[in-house]
Symmetry: C2
Subunit: 208 residues, 2 copies
């Protein structure tokens, strides 16, 4: 199909398609004459995936490029894809607090991870985010909110197993890799959205 048809089928305007192409998010189409390039269904799907990452997941173009490079890598794996996708969706943690405060927060996170029997390491993109959150709660003397982290952790553990189970049922390697990307990029957004609905309900009931 020509670029106009690609735009029509995906709802992505032609100039935006050209921009994604230049930025390396969309593989080039096949040049069929000096003035014409042909696209196929793989380009339709890729454009949908790009929109999901940018518009729904809120990723930057650079972060989406990193994720897609791994999707297209001949040496990709589900576990490696997870690491790349996690890094892409994680905001860099701002260094704060004294060395002593940081060490204390690091120790709290290490203890929490151990308590839940997890083998993850401080290099995990979530780890430093969590240290920063613990530091913030401690800085504001809100140890009461820290006690909730164990409940979040138990829920996260159960959900991770469910997510992995869903992935195991996907027959194709492409489908598994895309599932990791979508689960990581949209999974956070889905969980946050559902938390807002559940919180409104719980708060409304408590108010009576």
């Amino acid at each position: 199909m020509r670029i106009g048809e690609l735009a029509r089928r995906t709802g992505v305007p032609v100039p935006t398609i050209k921009y994604y192409s230049r930025e390396g998010l969309l593989p080039p189409g096949e040049r069929t004459s000096p003035n014409q390039v042909a696209y196929d269904d793989s380009h339709v799907r890729r454009l949908k995936l790009i929109r999901a990452m940018l518009e729904v997941g809120g990723l930057s173009v650079a972060a989406a490029r990193d994720v897609l490079a791994e999707v297209d890598s001949p040496t990709r794996s589900v576990h490696g894809m997870l690491g790349v996708a996690q890094s892409a969706v994680t905001r860099a943690a701002v260094e704060r607090g004294t060395d002593e405060d940081r060490e204390r927060a690091e120790a709290e996170v290490r203890e929490l991870v151990t308590r839940h029997g997890w083998t993850a390491k401080p290099q995990n993109p979530g780890w430093q985010s969590l240290v920063q959150i613990v530091l913030t709660y401690r800085d504001l003397d809100r140890g009461d909110l820290l006690t909730l982290l164990d409940k979040y952790a138990s829920a996260a553990g159960e959900l991770a197993l469910a997510e992995l189970g869903a992935l195991a049922d996907v027959p194709s390697a492409d489908g598994k890799v895309e599932g990791v990307v979508l689960g990581t990029v949209l999974g956070d957004a889905a969980m946050s959205a559902l938390r807002r609905i559940a919180q409104e309900d719980a708060s409304g009931r408590a108010r009576g």
Copy 2:
């Protein structure tokens, strides 16, 4: 204390403190002479809260201003605070899909909410995010990932009750309101961080 001492105690540079003041995030100090303004412990705490919202929660200055206006409102309530904080942390959903696709996704979200016995309405900031996520999964033919939403919803429901319970134990009204702000702004980040750690663990074990 003077502004230099306020900067030292909070780690926020003087020009940044002045900027937050101009933007209406930090209440003015008390003018004690034509050239001097005195700040107190309430300014220290407010600055810590501002940093938590901007640096850890990733809120814009405008969104943080909305949240703090409600914190300082004489007519504030815990339930109202929750609504304002939820709106502040929610990215606006981009309209997409045909009317038919949108109606179908709206219906799926309504059914999910009903299934979990929730009373929340489509005005909830999470609702439209969820419609967009359902649309995206459908657009990509990933109904398999949609089945995970019920598991996320069950976890979100349990966590909302735990969060409300933690809030009930906070004695002061100020503490409750600040707890809602922190729980909303940092709660998403904490859950996402823990999901990354749990996912790495589950994926690593599956790989063997």
